[in-house]
């Protein structure tokens, strides 16, 4: 694969932006061209966040066109679906965490959260495929829920769909997480990687 369009989606505070930067850094280290278009505003948590990663020779703009995403990596199922609907291409993959982060709109009774089964059916109707893992539990198992983004990167690497080597990605992660948490993050990466086996 020479070009990859990846969206990393989640809720503010789940580390999707950092995850997208790490994928792009790994691509650059392997001599590829990379673009990341991120949507984040306030420092506040709880908002919908999506980061577009484009890797390949011919990429210019930082945002993926409609129906142009090969993979949507989701830290949260609803955020995965939100991006799948507009961006996932036919034959694309939704790789999602199963743990729900309920929006206030649902909590105050103004909306209904879609079931994982209905999300799966939606992805399939669009000609895509869904893989779901309980990333949140794996992150807790690794030592801290905050390693969720690295768990999901591990799973992403295990799909074999990244045009970069798993070793480079791991190296980049080690360089970009706080020093004291390197070991825990490596554990998180392995847990995510092995969950797809």
């Amino acid at each position: 694969m020479t070009e990859l369009n990846l969206i990393i989606a989640g809720v503010g505070g789940q580390g999707s932006i950092l995850a997208s930067h790490m994928v792009a850094m790994a691509a650059i280290r392997e001599g590829l061209r990379a673009r990341v278009g991120e949507t984040f505003g306030a420092a506040m948590r709880g908002g919908a966040v999506a980061s577009h990663v484009r890797i390949g020779k011919g990429v210019n703009a930082p945002l993926i066109p409609r129906g142009g995403a090969d993979i949507v990596l989701a830290m949260e199922p609803l955020e995965g679906l939100r991006n799948v609907v507009s961006f996932l291409r036919k034959g694309g993959l939704l790789l999602t965490n199963t743990h729900e982060w309920l929006p206030v709109d649902v909590n105050i009774g103004r909306a209904n959260y879609p079931s994982l089964q209905s999300i799966k059916e939606a992805v399939e109707q669009l000609g895509g495929r869904m893989i779901a893992i309980d990333g949140t539990s794996l992150a807790q198992q690794a030592g801290d829920v905050r390693t969720l983004n690295v768990v999901m990167l591990g799973a992403l690497a295990a799909t074999g769909k990244l045009p970069i080597s798993t070793e480079t990605l791991k190296q980049i992660i080690m360089e970009n997480v706080p020093r004291k948490t390197v070991e825990m993050n490596m554990r998180a990466f392995e847990l995510g990687f092995n969950s797809l086996k």
């Binding site: 809720v11 990341v36 948590r45 709880g46 930082p62 982060w101 929006p103 709109d105 909590n107 105050i108």
Partner: protein, 655 residues
């Protein structure tokens, strides 16, 4: 570990790294040997100064968070007058605050290179409006550079200082969200030494150079400014960021400025039209490389202008076409061939080029139908305050205090900061327009429905005084503002309220930081941009000095005390200030000044009244089948506000 903050100061020309547009702009300034950097935070521009401030102590230059953009602009301009290189950066709205100095400084220009970097926000992702600040550069008669990606952002920022010194004028760099908050691979350049000595000469090359009132006159200085333009036009003609790609037999041309060029290139590729349309890439929307534009206009019959913001390039190209080739058709946002508002993207540009060339876009109508169908499953995620946010406590207290006024119609004037979410509404709820001729009372279901007006920083406290002067009597008048906003823009309005004897309650939500834009320090924080300890200003002291007589201070986490303070203020017959204070919880956790606690909800005690849900905390959930509230243990930080809200004592604070 080689984090970005370390790479930024590395003198390793040729190295390729991933940089965010804002980091790239900062790196450009660092390579150019910048000496003074000043800014006020604002998304999507904040990381420019954040990056510079982190680098400043390592490289020996100065960076500050100023109290507002106007002061920041003046700090940077003052440095440039003494001949050293300086940068000021801000978001779109920030430029409105500096216009007075900006429009006047250009009459004498600068001695050291001066870069004004402004990040616009098409689609108003993080802003009150979509304003296009390139017009301000045009208005001020200075050149505007507009990068198409992170590499150009760095290269242009670096070059801006050289250009500025060559033309003795500030240089404008216009970024947009998709440059500032996008990242790309950037090849680093060499870092120049910063050993220039600051000097001052009152009559440097022009009498009374730095005093517009000095002889000969402001008009003569305007004449000088105007006289710089031919030189600037000649320079931009040869810049590498203005490029014409023309081939035999092309009848359609695309002129694309800034990020528009990236979208256009990808759109041309998507359509399989590479090499089949003439392409003029613009890096200086004002002044335009006129010769290149004329050359293009003379060789094609149709031109599409692709730019982010208002149709500036389009109108300037139209003006040039009148003499160059009146027959050529020019299309863009002005003519309605591109959407007049909102952000553009690859899809929008591809559609416009498709229409113009007749080359069809690859499409799958069946799949589009399915997309529309499954979209119905997607529910909104309203933006919320964080779990444990002190503003949640303040808004609850305000709601309770206002409820004491029964069916009255208060006006709560909002302001800009995290607490502006008090007026975001609830995305999952439908709001209908009302055509009543009387004041209308609306129930506040969640804190996100608290604010009634909101426009710009410092706006609320002024509006409140106008409502009072109009004689509004159907309910109490309130204005809110945060600590950063208080110092940025509210002090003149407080003085105004005091001396002109206005009435109303000014509620200051003091969380010690400029939280919304990513936790920059402000005058109450006690730390500078470069990490030095400094004096802490106290809002109630300032208010007292400005003559405010009614002042109450409360802890935002103590909901009852805050409610009582607000109630008292509402009853007061004087202009009243209530400072609701508590450090931003996110920041307190980061600085290890906050200990997380666990909250417990006793299911058996919970009556399902949903009062806690209406607190608006994202950690509080509700299970409709059980008719019970719940607390998400991952999101909850244990601030204890909900325990104070629960009327039956079902929520308890643990350890």
């Amino acid at each position: 570990m080689s984090s970005t903050s370390e790479i930024i100061v590395e003198d390793s020309p040729g190295k390729r790294v991933l940089l965010m547009g804002n980091e790239a702009i900062a790196r450009g300034a660092i390579e150019a040997g910048v000496r003074v950097a000043a800014s006020y935070p604002g998304t999507p521009a904040s990381e420019i100064l954040e990056t510079l401030a982190a680098a400043a102590p390592k490289l020996g230059f100065y960076a500050e968070w100023s109290v507002n953009e106007k002061v920041a602009f003046e700090v940077a301009a003052g440095a440039a007058i003494t001949g050293v290189r300086s940068i000021t950066s801000m978001k779109n709205a920030g430029l409105n605050w500096v216009m007075d100095m900006f429009m006047t400084l250009v009459y004498g220009g600068v001695r050291g290179g001066f870069l004004i970097a402004v990040a616009d926000d098409p689609d108003a992702h993080y802003s009150s409006n979509e304003q296009d600040t390139r017009f301000a550069a045009h208005y001020a008669e200075i050149p505007c550079l507009e990068p198409s990606d992170a590499q150009e952002a760095k290269d242009m920022a670096r070059y801006a200082f050289e250009l500025s010194e060559q033309i003795e004028l500030p240089v404008f760099l216009r970024s947009v969200t998709r440059i500032s908050h996008a990242s790309g691979d950037v090849e680093l350049g060499k870092i120049e030494k910063r050993d220039r000595k600051p000097v001052f000469d009152k009559h440097w090359k022009m009498p009374w150079r730095w005093d517009v009132y000095g002889p000969p006159s402001a008009v003569e200085k305007h004449r000088w400014l105007h006289g710089q333009m031919p030189k600037i036009k000649k320079i931009v003609e040869g810049l590498p960021w203005n490029r014409l790609d023309l081939h035999e037999g092309q009848s359609v041309g695309v002129i694309a400025s800034g990020i528009g060029a990236s979208y256009a290139l990808d759109a041309i590729k998507l359509l399989g039209l590479e090499g089949r349309v003439a392409f003029l890439k613009i890096g200086t929307p004002t002044p335009l490389p006129e010769k290149l534009v004329e050359k293009l206009l003379k060789s094609v019959t149709n031109v599409l202008v692709v730019e982010e913001g208002e149709p500036l390039v389009e109108l300037l190209v139209k003006a040039l076409a009148k003499d160059a080739n009146p027959a050529v058709k020019i299309m863009g946002r002005f003519t309605g061939d591109m959407p007049p508002v909102g952000e553009i993207n690859i899809d929008i540009v591809a559609k416009a080029i498709s229409k113009l060339t007749g080359k069809e876009l690859p499409s799958d109508p069946q799949l589009e139908k399915v997309r529309e169908e499954v979209k119905k499953l997607v529910v909104p995620r309203s933006s919320t305050l964080c779990a444990g946010c002190p503003h949640l406590g303040t808004y609850w207290a305000l709601k309770r205090a206002l409820s004491k006024f029964g069916g009255k119609v208060p006006i709560v004037n909002g302001d800009i900061g995290c607490y502006e979410q008090g007026g975001y509404g609830i995305a999952g709820k439908e709001y209908k327009p009302s055509f009543s001729t009387e004041s209308v009372h609306y129930k506040i279901e969640a804190p996100y429905e608290t604010l009634d007006t909101n426009y710009i920083m410092g706006g609320g406290i002024g509006l409140m005084q106008g409502e009072f002067r109009a004689g509004y009597g159907d309910g109490p008048l309130v204005a809110v503002a945060g600590d950063s906003t208080f110092f940025h823009a509210c002090m003149p309005a407080v003085a105004n309220a005091v001396v002109n004897k206005a009435k109303g309650v000014f509620l200051v939500l003091d969380n010690s930081w400029t939280a919304m834009t990513g936790h920059q320090p402000d005058p109450v924080t006690g730390v500078t941009a470069m990490g030095e300890k400094t004096k802490t200003l106290c809002i109630e002291d300032v208010a007292r000095a400005l003559g405010v007589e009614f002042i109450r201070v409360s802890d935002s986490f103590d909901v009852r005390a805050t409610q009582e303070a607000i109630e008292e203020a509402l009853k007061s017959d004087k202009f009243a200030i209530v400072v609701s204070r508590r450090v931003c919880t996110l920041q307190a956790m980061r600085l290890k000044q906050y200990t997380r606690k666990k909250m417990f909800l006793e299911k058996d005690t919970c009556t399902g009244c949903r009062l806690c849900v209406s607190l608006g905390c994202p950690a509080i959930t509700f299970n409709t089948e059980e008719n019970k509230a719940g607390i998400d243990p991952i999101i909850c930080v244990g601030c204890g506000i909900c325990a104070q809200v629960c009327p039956v004592g079902a929520i308890k604070v643990g350890e």
